[in-house]
């Protein structure tokens, strides 16, 4: 019984120690999902408050994907509130459109085409941010947040097979945009 007075502060300390180290990760995903710095900050703050309120019953998975899943929910709720078409989950149309897009009909790669244009960090961030959902979140969770396929599947609520096909399409789209974007080139095709 003597420990009761310390329970809440202890819990708060544990939460800070466990969750705050992932602030950069959560903010990065928020930036790519919301595509606006101020909106991203609001979403991140809401995410941490929700996570704290639910910290009692947190039993895993790993803290990072747990936080990112909450953030994704916050962003979806915000899009729903605004009545925008673009929710993170509502992807059937984009996915279909992307499938019909030109990326699977790429010209057979010549050896020169394999060489990538060089881009600065800003340009790469812009190219990723321009990808449609759900490919954007998939590639961000993979390349920026460094999650495993299993973790991405858990965050996005889809099977691993879906993660794999989304990632393949995301990278194909990104590569097309990458080579089309202006930038210093290294061995572009004529």
């Amino acid at each position: 019984m003597t420990g009761d007075g310390n329970a809440e502060p202890d819990r708060a300390r544990r939460f800070r120690d466990a969750a705050l180290p992932y602030l950069d990760d959560v903010f990065a995903l928020a930036r790519y999902l919301m595509r606006d710095a101020a909106d991203a900050e609001d979403a991140v703050q809401e995410c941490y408050l929700r996570a704290w309120r639910h910290f009692d019953s947190y039993r895993g998975p790993a803290m990072k994907p747990w936080l990112l899943a909450i953030l994704r929910n916050v962003c979806n709720a915000e899009f729903a509130r605004r009545g925008r078409q673009e929710t993170v989950a509502d992807c059937a149309e984009t996915e279909q459109a992307a499938e019909q897009g030109p990326m699977w009909q790429e010209a057979p790669a010549s050896p020169e085409a394999v060489l990538l244009r060089r881009h600065d960090d800003d340009t790469i961030r812009r190219l990723i941010a321009a990808l449609p959902q759900p490919f954007r979140e998939t590639i961000v969770l993979r390349e920026v947040n460094d999650l495993s396929y299993q973790e991405i599947a858990a965050v996005a609520g889809v099977p691993v097979g879906t993660v794999m096909s989304r990632l393949a399409r995301a990278r194909a789209m990104l590569r097309s945009a990458w080579n089309a974007a202006e930038g210093p080139t290294s061995g572009a095709t004529p």
């Binding site: 900050e41 929700r50 881009h119 858990a154 990458w178």
Partner: protein, 262 residues
């Protein structure tokens, strides 16, 4: 392996998400297919370029301050004992109770989804592994109907000693065993057959949620049965009719119970 499969799997290869067997398959295909080889090279180059770039950035300092301020304080010194329970509201920085409540509900939904997801993901992988096993030459690593050959074969390959039960007399022929991967973990697959239908029985320490009772599902036309017994996780997958797969699960379970099976 064909190009369509390879187009998906090269990414798993780049990301280090393929088991050794599939990595070899992809590499073998790439060695003979110029188009896929170019793709692999170019996606790898892009991945490297992304790894070098700073795509994450840092959260603004004032955001960190804002969040820390909104969280309950962590006193530097030992807190004074309080007679009353600390008010929950004060910890939420005076947020309306309604908001706190709805957010808690939302968060609990997330957790529930996570748990179900895990089970669904495993089920999905089990079915994928079953389908993979049906491809020519993938079904068995050790091919024999002798349970006393199959069982020791698993020694040192998986971290469990899977029960290998001969049900031939009961209509399910033991074909052999295989090492497979579910959720990145090596698992034992014991292969049975009834008529022309293959049954994979995956045995592992702990894959999905615990199921004392048998949980049934159907994925892509395949039936699965999942249950937990004697500290082991069992997944049976087949295109066999549901009642026959039930019968299979019952017989395995009964054999396990009839003391010290094999």
């Amino acid at each position: 392996m064909n190009c369509a499969e390879c187009e998906i799997l090269i990414h798993a290869l780049i990301d280090g998400e393929l088991d050794a067997g599939h990595a070899r398959d992809v590499e073998a295909h790439v060695a003979t297919c110029a188009a896929c080889a170019e793709k692999l090279k170019s996606f790898r180059a892009m991945r490297d370029a992304m790894a070098e770039a700073d795509l994450k950035g840092a959260a603004p300092a004032q955001l960190r301050v804002r969040i820390e301020a909104a969280l309950p304080p962590v006193p530097a010194a030992a807190p004074r004992r309080q007679l009353l329970q600390p008010s929950r509201r004060s910890f939420f920085g005076g947020l309306a109770v309604g908001t706190a409540l709805s957010a808690a509900v939302a968060a609990s939904v997330i957790v529930a989804v996570f748990r179900n997801d895990r089970e669904a993901i495993i089920a999905d992988e089990v079915v994928s592994a079953h389908i993979r096993s049906l491809q020519a030459g993938h079904l068995m690593d050790v091919e024999t109907g002798d349970q006393h050959t199959v069982k020791p074969w698993f020694n040192g390959k998986v971290d469990v000693a899977p029960p290998v039960i001969d049900l031939t007399a009961q209509g399910f022929t033991l074909l052999g065993g295989r090492l497979d991967y579910i959720g990145g973990e090596p698992v034992a697959a014991v292969v049975y057959q009834r008529r022309k239908h293959v049954i994979n029985l995956f045995v592992a320490q702990r894959l999905g949620a615990e199921h004392a009772a048998v949980a049934a599902s159907t994925i892509q036309g395949y039936n699965t049965r999942h249950w937990t017994e004697q500290g082991l996780d069992f997944w049976a997958v087949s295109d066999l009719a549901p009642d026959e797969l039930d019968e299979f699960a019952r017989k395995i379970s009964a054999a396990l119970h009839s003391a010290g099976s094999s």
